[in-house]
Structures are given as structure tokens and as C-alpha cells.
Amino acid sequence: MATALRRRVDPAARFEARAATREAPWVKWALLAVALAFFTLFLLMPLIAVFIEALRKGWETYFSALVEPDALASIRLTLLAAGIAVPLNLVFGVAAAWAIAKFEFRGKHFLITLIDLPFSVSPVIAGLVYVLMFGAQGWFGPWLAAHDIKIVFAVPGIVLATVFVTFPFVARELIPLMQAQGREEEEAAVVLGANGWLTFWHVTLPNIRWGLLYGVILCNARAMGEFGAVSVVSGHIRGETNTMPLHVEILYNEYQFAAAFAVASLLALLALVTLGIKTWVERNAARSGPGAQDEATAP
């Protein structure tokens, strides 16, 4: 991050060095102070607070909160949900982006809009939809009950809700990238005798790899951190249907602050790791040519 930032700031440094273009020092320092104060108050302090609170009662309590069976179960469930949702959305995202960027078909704009649905709808609503569909009183409730299949208030419901919420990340990342790259390289590969799979593997995938990785990282972060939709379908059964965010909430409501913050610190660590990888991916994407760069600078 630091080097990338310095490189970008370079023209500003030149601007700053010239007397003719330099601003008054107080402007610079005032702006810096505002930005830093805001950053400290709203971002840095909460992050530090998580770790301080987690460790308030010492390392022993911290670790015992993490290895406690319910906590371990919640970690396992979170990993499971992300482990299913991310690959599914990876495949779906590539397929959808491919379809939208490389083919003409009716209803294309509708599909693009539909992909954004999970972003625009509140996660709670998303969870409720699944309850209405698969719950005991839902559309498929009686049929599911008759076949002894449990979706809502069970692991499948949590996975479904996670998939729904993290649906758009990969596709959204790839569509503009693939649209910008066009079809010519793939056509060239086919004319040169490559079959569909080789074309995908040697031409399409290398061209989108950084965008794809970027999408997967964001997708994974959201899958592990999702609260709203999962909360509705979970039923909060300890050790069974609690993901990490839900487990944190339960501990907190039971005034087990140290334990709650211990589990929360794991999520915070995950966020930090995600940010680190994301920065690394962005730098690589920026280096690997103009097509990839567009995607790295996009939000």
C-alpha cells in the first residue's frame, strides 16, 4: 500500500515543491489533521478497541474463548458457508460475466440489473425471503417437511443466505473488465486452433485473473462477515447454526464481553488480511497491463 501510494502521490510532491504552485502550509496541515482525526476516531480506535477488549482479561481467557466448543463450531460453520458460497459465486460470476460480455441475447440488461439485486436489497429481507420460501409455513415448507429436509434454521439455509448476499461480487468485478477486453483475442485463439477449454485457460483466464482474484477476496470477506441475512435464517442454535458474527452477538448479549471481543478480533484479523491481499492484488493488476488496471482502480 505504502509504495503504491507514494507512486501515486509523486506528481503532487512535484506540485508541492514549486513555490509557484505551493499552497500555504496551514492548508496542508489542516487537511491532514482533519483526515487523520477522522481516520483515528472512526477506523483506527474501534479496531484497537476490539483487540484491547479481547485481551482485557489476559491471553488465557482470550484463547479459552476461542477454543470453547460453541466458538469452534461457529468458526467451522463460517468457514463452511464461505467455502461453499465463494466457489459457487466464482463459477457463477465467471459464467455470468462471460455471457454478458461476450454474447448478445435478449434480456441482457435485465440480467445485469438482477445481479445487483443482493446489493440493493437489505440482507434482512433476503433472509426473510428464504424463510418465506423454505420455512415451515413457507411455499415449499410442507413438501420439505414431508421429505424430512431442513433448510431454514439449519446449515443449508445459512449457506443459501450467504450465497445470495455474496452473489454480485465476482460478476460485478468481471463484467466491465471483460467488456473492455472484447472478443478478439479469443477469436484469434480459436482461429489458431485452440479449443474452447484451452482458449479459456490460456487466453480468457490470464486476462481476467487479477480482477477475478479481487472479486473472490471481496466475496470471501463478505461471506465470512455477513450478519443480517444469516441471522434471520439461522435460528441461533448454539454450536449448530451460529456463524462467527452471530456468535459474537450472542456472547455480547450475555455480557461475556471478553469472549465476544475475542471472536470479533478473529473477524478483524480476517479483515486486515483481506486488505493486505487486496492491496497486493491491486499492485499486480496495475503492473499487468492497461486492461487490468481499469479494474484495479474501480471501487
Binding site: 482461429v191 489458431l192 486476462n207
Partner: protein, 359 residues
């Protein structure tokens, strides 16, 4: 390999891109598909390659119907207008790509692939760029790499889509000569698409002129230039003067003037509305001595640099006309701006009037 195109039609929605096109490309020739943008030339090229499917008709490769054959089995080399080099691969890997993608049974060993890619890079005189990425090359270099990549799989046909379209004028001229030389060495049947008449006439063995999805004329550059078959071809190839009038005996009556012409038995009937064409060098200027014959015009500009003298004139109905004379002839006439003269076409070509045809 010979290519035949039989009754190809292609529509994009309501737009007719190709309308019953039939063509023969003899083996070993370098053919130019020439026409204005939107005339269907690129679509035809893509249909021959198999990148686009025709709505009707056949493409015969070596006399064999290729309509059902997949692009990768047609053994064509295709050079894209914007080169379509694989941006994440080095120049060398780009050239070797076609060989590496062959099914295991047909794939040469890696050592042979490397040798061949190296030879091709030498052929296009860019072996010193083998380790670079496409983004580090100039337009002309990319074009040559794209060509080397297409040649690597030993295609039976080479198809080039606006091969020089994206290059600046100087590089374009160089590459044009270079492509011609390369074709003379390899003798591979080649078709290239262009909208630049000079390019087509200079490089190709045969020129196919297209307009609005139809073939207007095919022939050698010499044939299409000196004997244009349609008003469109006349207007598209080189500068030309156009006169609207009616057939009058052996000539064409334009307003009050009579242009002498060479009447043909199969030409338009007496009194028919016609368009008559003459190239700037096919018109002579004579002093206006009150005699009949020829068309009255007023000199508006005399450009006498270079070998010939170009005279711009305004016709009796306000039309812009251009005449090219030898220096001696122009000096003898002593033309002055504003002077009234008479124009005598030495080779007037007459076509039945068509709405929207010609220039």
C-alpha cells in the same frame, strides 16, 4: 488453396450486410476486398474464416464445402484489424501459440516449436523483440507479429482485416511493400480487406470492389481502374468528373452543351437520362472560340506544381470539375483564372442514371 464463395447472404437485423455474393479466389493470389465502410467486406472475410455464419450460401475451400467445418479446422490464418495479440504473453509465446495448441498427436516437440517460432520472427525481421510484451511494441511491429503468429500454423489461406488501417502513413507504405514481398515469397492465397483504393491497387493481384453488400466489379488493378464497370467503381477509384445529361446521338447533352462520346450498341437509348464519367486526364481544354462541341466552363484555379498541371473549373451548372494537363499543354493554353474555356472529354463513359449511385 482456392476459395469459392457461393450466393452468400448475411443480414444483421434489418440491415443487409451481404446480398447474394458469389466470388472466386484463385489459388496463390493476393486479393483485395475494397469498398467503403459498411459495404460488407469485413463480414465476408469473417464468413470465409468461419468467425461469422452466413444466413445462406456456401464457402468452398479447395472445392469442398466448409460451411459445417469449425473455424479451427479450416486452417486459415487471420490477422485482426487491431492485431488481437495475447497481451499477457511475450512476442515469442504469441507466435508459438498456434503450435502449442495443437492436439498432442499433431503437436511438434517443444524444441521444434521454438525453432519454428524463431524462424518466423526472423522472417518478419523482429527476432530481437522475442522477449517483449505486445504493449511494448509499435503498431507496425504488432502488425508483423500478428502476421507471424498467423503463419505459424501453416495456414492454407491468409485473411487480413484492414491490415494497415491503424498505422500512420509512412509505416503503412513500408508495410504494404513488405506484405507484397512476403506474399511473393510464400505464395499463399491471401485476401485482405481495405477501404483505401491506393492500397488495394498497389498491393493486390486482383481487386474485388464491394458496395452495400454486393460485388460491383472484380479484376486486376489495371482493369478496374481503366474500365470501371459501374458508376460506383468510377467514383470510388480515383478522381473523376461526373456529368448528368441525356443521350443525344453519339454524345451526351448536358444543359445546352453536347459532350462528344463513344456510343455503344448496348448503351442507353436515345434521350435516356444518364451519368457520364471522365477522369481528369481524359478531358482536354480548348480555347472558347464560339464553336459548338464540348462544355463551357470557367477556370477557377490552376495548380501547376509537379509534372502535370491541375485545373479546377466551374461548369455551366455550377458543378466542380477537374482537368489534368501536361505542363506544355497548359503553358500553350495560357490559362488565367476567370477565363471561359471549353472541355472536350476524350473518353466519356456513359451509364444509365441511378438514384444515389456514383459519387
Amino acid at each position: 488453396m482456392s476459395i469459392q464463395v457461393r450466393n452468400i447472404t448475411k443480414r444483421f437485423g434489418a440491415f443487409s450486410a451481404l446480398d447474394d455474393v458469389t466470388l472466386d479466389f484463385p489459388s496463390g493470389d493476393l486479393v483485395a476486398l475494397l469498398g467503403p465502410s459498411g459495404c460488407g467486406k469485413t463480414t465476408l472475410l469473417r464468413i470465409i474464416a468461419g468467425l461469422e455464419a452466413a444466413d445462406g450460401g456456401q464457402v468452398l475451400l479447395e472445392g469442398e464445402d466448409a460451411s459445417a467445418r469449425h473455424v479451427r479446422e479450416r486452417q486459415v490464418g487471420f490477422v485482426f484489424q487491431h492485431y488481437a495479440l495475447f497481451r499477457h504473453m511475450t512476442v515469442f509465446d504469441n507466435v508459438a501459440f498456434g503450435l502449442r495448441m495443437k492436439p498432442r498427436a499433431q503437436r511438434p516437440p517443444e524444441r521444434q516449436i521454438r525453432e519454428k517460432a524463431q524462424r518466423l520472427l526472423e522472417l518478419v525481421q523482429l527476432d530481437w523483440l522475442a522477449g517483449r510484451f505486445p504493449s511494448q511494441l509499435s503498431g507496425g511491429q504488432r502488425q508483423r507479429i500478428a502476421l507471424a503468429r498467423a503463419l505459424a500454423v501453416e495456414p492454407r489461406v491468409l485473411l487480413l482485416d484492414e491490415p494497415f488501417g491503424a498505422l500512420d502513413a509512412k509505416v503503412r507504405k513500408e508495410l504494404r511493400r513488405w506484405l507484397r514481398r512476403l506474399h511473393d515469397e510464400l505464395h499463399i492465397t491471401s485476401i485482405f480487406v481495405t477501404h483505401d483504393q491506393e492500397e488495394a491497387l498497389e498491393v493486390a493481384d486482383r481487386v474485388v470492389l464491394m458496395n452495400q453488400g454486393r460485388i460491383e466489379q472484380t479484376g486486376t488493378p489495371e482493369e478496374v481502374y481503366s474500365q470501371p464497370a459501374t458508376p460506383f467503381v468510377y467514383g470510388f477509384l480515383g478522381a473523376v468528373n461526373l456529368f448528368h445529361g441525356r443521350v443525344d446521338g453519339e454524345g451526351v447533352r448536358v444543359g445546352g452543351d453536347l459532350l462528344p462520346g463513344t456510343a455503344r450498341a448496348d448503351g442507353p437509348a436515345e434521350g435516356a437520362r444518364v451519368m457520364a464519367f471522365a477522369r481528369p486526364y481524359e478531358i482536354d481544354i480548348v480555347a472558347d472560340d464560339g464553336a459548338d462541341g464540348g462544355m463551357a466552363a470557367k477556370v477557377s484555379r490552376v495548380l501547376s506544381f509537379g509534372v502535370t498541371t491541375r485545373v479546377e473549373l466551374e461548369g455551366s451548372e455550377g458543378q466542380h470539375l477537374e482537368v489534368e494537363l501536361t505542363r506544355e499543354r497548359a503553358d500553350a493554353l495560357g490559362l488565367a483564372v476567370g477565363q471561359t474555356v471549353r472541355l472536350l472529354p476524350s473518353n466519356l463513359r456513359v451509364f444509365e442514371y441511378e438514384e444515389g449511385a456514383g459519387i
